[in-house]
């Protein structure tokens, strides 16, 4: 098996297993509590407003925004890790058909794997740090993925034997 295929198949499998493990941990220990908290904070925001207790109402709605920000990113990060892992695995099966020399294929595979790890990791980091570094990691990850996918699509179109 070529290096590029090994990178994609085993990297993809590991990434998917990691994403599923993270997803199961998140679902069992955090997600249900987060969703319950989101629903009750939203209802509390409206009920306190109906009682004219506006400070409490606004605090509850701010809590909704904060929980929602974290929830969206947690789900996105684990979903993208699994999805990208499977995509790498599927591309890896066919990667010998990418019509470039093995050295170029290895660079493309490295870009895809690095992007698939970095992009969701940057998204996840945003839940702890709202500065520029997590966003920069996510952007670099997505740029690597876009470059890798462009190279793969071009290589598939070039292959004819």
């Amino acid at each position: 098996m070529t290096t590029s295929r090994k990178l994609l198949i085993f990297g993809g499998l590991l990434l998917a297993v990691w994403g599923m493990g993270y997803g199961i941990w998140y679902a069992v220990f955090i997600e249900h509590q987060t969703l319950d908290g989101l629903g009750s904070a939203l209802a509390t925001g409206f009920m306190r407003a109906a009682e004219n207790r506006m400070a409490e109402s606004q605090a509850a709605l701010a809590d909704v925004a904060a929980r929602s920000f974290v929830y969206v990113r947690q789900v996105d990060a684990h979903g993208h890790w699994i999805g990208l892992g499977l995509l790498l695995l599927i591309l890896g099966i066919a990667f010998d058909r990418v019509g470039f020399a093995e050295r170029v294929r290895t660079y493309i595979a490295m870009a895809l794997l690095a992007g698939a790890i970095a992009f969701p990791f940057g998204v996840l980091l945003e839940t702890w740090n709202r500065g520029g570094v997590p966003q920069a990691i996510a952007v670099i990850g997505s740029v690597l993925l876009i470059l890798g996918l462009s190279g793969t699509a071009w290589g598939f179109a070039r292959s004819d034997s």
Binding site: F46, S57, V64, W154, D160
Partner: protein
């Protein structure tokens, strides 16, 4: 329609024999994807869109309850919204799991020659997978209707128990397949198997591979644009509008509060179409890549194989593009998006028919020999 890989005709016939594991995974996988897509269309038209309207009505009721200083009514409106969200969530889950399991079935079908199991074990695992892959979405669909009726558990109903059991079966099969593959590669057999599915360089296979990768790339570009240009702004607007609904209603400014509810509905619509377009274009891309591998089994003339590959790719691009335009073009865009989905369903059905014909050809040849 020739197979250009190293596998002999006899090997091909053996691997795709009647009720062989690969045949069960391929036909079962495509059937699951088709059923999931059709179910998604039916849910969208008859359940999800009316459900979204009811959620909007309840949010209006909650805002009116704030204006009339009635906290009980506000609480009741959110309880209704919770029920409606559960209904929506189970429908979306049933549809997406069916399609997701179909993708996994096609992927596992590719791995069959690389498993260190007897064919009887492979067949058993394939049947178990298909059973679990049907049980989970059916169970999830029924959660909203069965509720806790007759359940010995405090919070989990029978439908949920059966759905979880289905998911567990699929998970067990996936683990067994991985173990079988690890054993195969550890054993390092002297003669490696060659697979006809990995050596097809036909026009249709190449178009599906490169087209599918391009679709995934488009999905990624759109997702990156959405995250960079809209995600943070939409999150801020979401919070501002919720705040406006409560503060305006509590201050007696009903018109402004109701306007905030309407704007909130528009915002949720904008988020939904962006997420749906991003997810669908990537899913269709992955589907096209997977189908590229199975083109040697599509027993149709080269012209028709090319036609269905192009139809599938065209539908895969049409649906997400017009989903994105739904907010500007309304029903017209919705209709065109549905037409795109229909193209994908027709192309997928045609490929399934081609594979079915291929099984007939193999079986009749086996019967004659």
């Amino acid at each position: 329609m020739s197979i250009r890989a190293g596998a002999s005709a006899a090997q091909t016939a053996e691997r795709f024999a009647p009720f062989s594991a690969r045949r069960i995974f391929v036909i079962g996988g495509i059937a699951l994807i088709l059923c999931g897509m059709i179910a998604g269309d039916i849910f969208a038209a008859f359940i999800l869109h009316p459900n979204a309207n009811r959620i909007g009505e309840n949010l209006l009721n909650a805002t009116r309850a704030v204006a009339s200083h009635n906290p009980q009514a506000a609480g009741a409106a959110f309880q209704n919204i919770g029920g409606l969200l559960e209904n929506r969530g189970t429908k979306v889950d049933a549809h997406s799991h069916m399609i997701g399991f179909g993708y996994i079935a096609l992927l596992v079908a590719l791995l069959q020659p690389y498993l260190a199991f007897a064919e009887s074990v492979k067949k058993f695992l394939a049947k178990l997978f298909v059973f679990g892959a049907i049980l989970l979405p059916v169970g999830v669909f029924l959660i909203h209707y069965v509720g806790l009726a007759g359940s010995p558990f405090a919070a989990i109903g029978w439908a949920s128990v059966f759905a979880d059991f289905g998911g567990f079966l699929v998970w067990v099969v996936c683990l067994c397949e991985l173990a079988g593959m690890a054993t195969y590669f550890r054993a390092r057999p002297a003669i490696r198997v060659s697979d006809e599915l990995l050596g097809d360089y036909s026009w249709a296979a190449r178009a599906l591979l490169s087209g599918g990768t391009l679709l995934v790339l488009i999905g990624f570009l759109h997702g990156s644009y959405y995250a960079g240009a809209h995600l943070f702004r939409y999150e801020a607007e979401d919070s501002e509008l919720l705040s406006a609904m409560t503060t305006r209603a509590a201050a007696g400014d009903r018109a402004a509060a109701l306007q905030a509810v309407a704007d909130y509905g528009q915002l949720q619509g904008a988020k939904a179409v962006n997420v749906a377009a991003h997810a669908h274009v990537i899913e269709f891309g992955v589907l096209a890549i997977l189908l590229a591998f199975f083109q040697p089994y599509v027993f149709l003339s080269e012209r028709w194989r090319r036609t269905w590959a192009v139809v599938l790719l065209a539908g895969s691009l049409t649906l997400p593009v017009f989903v994105l335009l739904e907010l500007q073009w309304g029903l017209l865009a919705g209709g065109l998006a549905d037409a795109g989905g229909l193209l994908v369903i027709i192309a997928l059905s045609a490929m399934l028919v081609g594979i079915w014909r291929y099984t007939g050809k193999l079986d009749s040849a086996a019967g004659g020999s």
